[in-house]
Amino acid sequence: MRIGLLRETAPRERRVALIPATVQRLVQQKHEVLVERDAGTAAFFPDQLYRDAGASIVDSAAAAMAGADLVVKVQPPDAGQVGAMKQGAVLVSLLAPHASGPLLDALAQAGVSALALELVPRTTKAQSMDILSSQATVAGYQAVLTGASRMGRLLPMLTTAAGTITPGKAFVIGAGVAGLQAIATAKRLGAVVSAFDVRPVVKEQVMSLGASFVEAEAKAEGAGGYAKELSDDQQARVLEAIGKHIKDMDLVITTAAIPGKPAPRLVTRAMVESMRPGSVIVDVAAETGGNCELTKAGEDVVHAAVTILGPRNLASSLPRDASFMFSKNVQALLEHAIKDGALQVNVEDAILGPMAVTHAGAVRYGRN
Amino acid sequence: MEALIVSVIIFTLATFLGVELINRVPTTLHTPLMSGANAISGITIAGALIVAGGEHGWISTVLGFLAVVFAMVNVVGGYAVTDRMLQMFKRKPEQK
């Protein structure tokens, strides 16, 4: 099988979909891998490493895709790239399917079977292919580091000859994968950490990390381990609970999300104004609209001396390990899908089925 | 009567001693300890020998003989079995 690995062109995207170690494995399995020049450079994997792994470096995306049975990248391809794929090829990448109608149509038309990585089912078995989990892990960690270095103060408690620095208070809203990692990282740095989520199972998980849980009488567990949207009444209770708690916080990390929906609004302008000067909010949900009212995706907002960071694509700012995990996920997916040396998009498969957004010339996403 | 009292005293002291001796035994030693204690209770052999060896008529001799056999099985089997169990238990730390 011929596999093409593309260089990312989206702004701020520094990751690469396959790292040399994965390429080497594919080559050992008798696949041919074509890598677009500098595909891994921004993630600190220079071309030489790919060459050492047995891939051929080609000069353009088109060259990498020419005749490829499988095209792998991180971000959705642009229109030109779709055109360059051969009929019957398989594309593996993030596709943001709920927001990419035209792209899906184009892929279907081009006869490309596209597997959307964000649709890996969240089952125990598919966990090794779960890109959302792995990238959220990096994001949760990086959110704390960025937030902490912008906070104006230290997180750990320090008793020094120049007075005692009280420990910073960190508050994590939305304790999914990213949120839990943020809790762990803030705890490591010595912060006093609290967290909030609407799924009831999360409380035990939060406490298993040594953080405290902020209670609000609102439970909203949806399907597949995800949350669902809150009723107005619940939303009011949640806002009250957060509002009471947030005043005192030095670092707030918000990661609340509902799949396919805009991020829930959980931090209001009034709450921001109630916070102490120098506090920082890191809105990890910035890209889907932000959990904070004042968040601007990709920008740093300072309001009432509170800094609100709206980072885009946080995982990409630690491109090496983010790519490492991304690549391992893709590798697990390919190992699951490749039978007898060829990639079979079996739409009956419990894992591939939900991921295959286009197949056999048709758009499958949203049909059921 | 005096003699009985003395025996009672000895019995009492030995009972207390038995209690104090077995203070904290790891579970793994429960069976060997039980077995070892059982072997000690084979001390009835002393009584059996006296009964069997005295010339008190054939009933005593027959019963005594049986008693000696029973008690001796208990004694010999008890110590041997205990030793076997403990050997198994011992081996590991020695391997180190």
Binding site: S208 | I22, V51, A67, V76
Partner: protein, 463 residues
């Protein structure tokens, strides 16, 4: 040999028994203890043989030879796994010996029409009674363990009352026998018969799994029987050794019950209430779970050369990371090697276990991921699974219908023995049963992981 010397030698034998028992209760000295007590027995026997009371040697020698031969053969032939029933058998024979000695003394005195002092009469009755109960009780225990008869409690209506009746009858008959001056024999035979029956009826309602406790108790009885025999023939070594075994046996039974978290009364009479489960829990499908206690786990860990700890979400919930570290340090001090096997999806977030173990300062070079360590389980003495479940569930290998089928797991089930720490039989994240828990090599240590580990650590320190 002078009587004084005999008695002094008996005293020496008694001291050796005392030391023997003391040493038997600690792993480091147990072998020595058993041997020294055996040596005590040897000199007690030799001294008795040399004593003036023995006049005919043929019978005695014959009995010794037969008994030793039989005993040795039995000890050699028995399989390691059948040890408890072997002890039961031997114990029963010991009880039988007491019965016989008491009986012989009684019959002798009746025969020569000697009027026995009252205390001798009483102790004869006691040695016969206790000896007989021990004899049959032990055989029942043996039968249950050997699965010659059912291990389940055997119950019938009015059983309790029946037992009580038998007991009263025996006491009454004994009292009658002692108090009546004339030479009558039938009450004696009745006492023997009923006592033998009592041994049976007392043990049958107790479940097979509880037999070790019963044996220990019967062992204590046979010690008391020996002591009683000692009263009968006025022999101090019998009294001392018998009393030692009598009291230590009861203590040991109690320790055993405590290890199973039950009372002695519950073990002995529990079946009359509910059908007690014994040391094992049965599941719906009839599979059996073996429970263990903290001190047992501690001994296993103390003598293991290699231990792999498999932490899971339960470790995090219990916040037991620090105490795990402490335990590992102790094991390593004792010469064992401890590694941690981290499954990629253990816990509830990527790296959950790392966070915890880092907090407890577990050195990185002791952490191994699945691929690095999976081959090592089969060479591992003890795998300690702490609050993990799905990540060690063999269903992922064997059961294509399972939601985790195909997920690689840690090969905990390949270790020589497995100890699982959980609160109960709760399922993990995937919500499915785990057959590892029913593996015969697996012992479950139930309770909050932190609490259980704390107990293990305390025991480890005491070892």
């Amino acid at each position: 040999m002078s009587h004084t010397l005999t008695q002094l030698t008996y005293l020496v034998a008694s001291v050796l028994f005392i030391l023997g028992l003391k040493w038997l209760s600690s792993p480091a000295t147990a072998v020595k203890g058993n041997r020294i007590s055996g040596f005590g027995m040897l000199i007690a026997i030799v001294v008795t043989l040399l004593d003036q009371a023995i006049v005919t040697y043929q019978v005695v020698i014959a009995g010794l030879a037969v008994g030793s031969g039989l005993g040795l053969w039995m000890a050699r032939a028995v399989k390691m796994t059948s040890m408890p029933q072997m002890v039961a058998l031997l114990n029963g024979l010991g009880g039988g010996a007491s019965l016989l000695v008491g009986g012989a003394e009684f019959l002798r005195s009746e025969l020569v029409n000697e009027q026995l002092p009252i205390d001798t009469s009483i102790t004869i009755q006691l040695s016969v009674l206790i000896g007989a109960v021990t004899l049959t009780g032990s055989f029942i225990a043996w039968a249950k363990l050997q699965e010659v008869m059912t291990g389940k409690p055997i119950l019938f209506a009015g059983q309790k009352a029946f037992n009580a009746l038998l007991f009263l009858a025996v006491i009454g008959l004994s009292a009658y026998q002692v108090s009546v001056p004339e030479s009558v024999l039938w009450p004696f035979y009745a006492v023997v018969a009923i006592s033998l029956l009592l041994g049976v009826t007392l043990v049958i309602p107790i479940g097979g799994a509880d037999m070790p406790v019963v044996i220990s108790l019967l062992n204590s009885y046979s010690g008391i029987a020996a002591a009683m025999t000692g009263f009968v023939i006025r022999n101090e070594v019998l009294i001392i050794a018998g009393a030692l075994v009598g009291s230590s046996g009861i203590i040991l039974s109690q320790i055993m019950c405590k290890a199973m978290n039950r009372s002695l009364a519950n073990v002995l009479f529990g079946a009359f209430g509910a059908a007690a489960g014994g040391g094992s829990t049965k599941t719906a499908e009839g599979l059996t779970v073996r429970q263990t206690s903290a001190d047992d786990a501690a001994v296993q860990l103390a003598y293991a050369k290699s231990v792999i700890v498999v932490p899971g979400y339960g470790l995090a919930v219990a916040q037991a990371q620090h105490i795990v570290r402490e335990m590992a340090d102790l094991i390593e001090k004792k010469g064992g090697e401890v590694k941690y096997a981290i499954h990629p999806v253990a816990g509830r977030m990527p790296g959950h276990m790392n966070v915890l173990l880092a907090e407890a300062n577990v050195p990185y070079d002791k952490l191994f991921d699945m691929d690095q360590i999976n081959a090592e389980f089969e060479r591992t003495d003890v795998c300690l699974v702490i609050g993990a479940n799905d990540v060690v569930n063999p269903a992922s290998r064997t059961d294509p219908g399972s939601p985790i089928y195909g997920m690689p797991i840690l090969n905990a089930d390949r270790a020589h023995s497995i100890i699982v720490l959980k609160r109960g039989m709760g399922a993990g994240f995937a919500g499915i049963e785990n057959e590892l828990f029913y593996n015969p090599k697996t012992a479950m240590l139930f309770g909050d992981a932190k609490g259980s580990l704390q107990k293990v650590v305390t025991e480890l320190k005491a070892l």
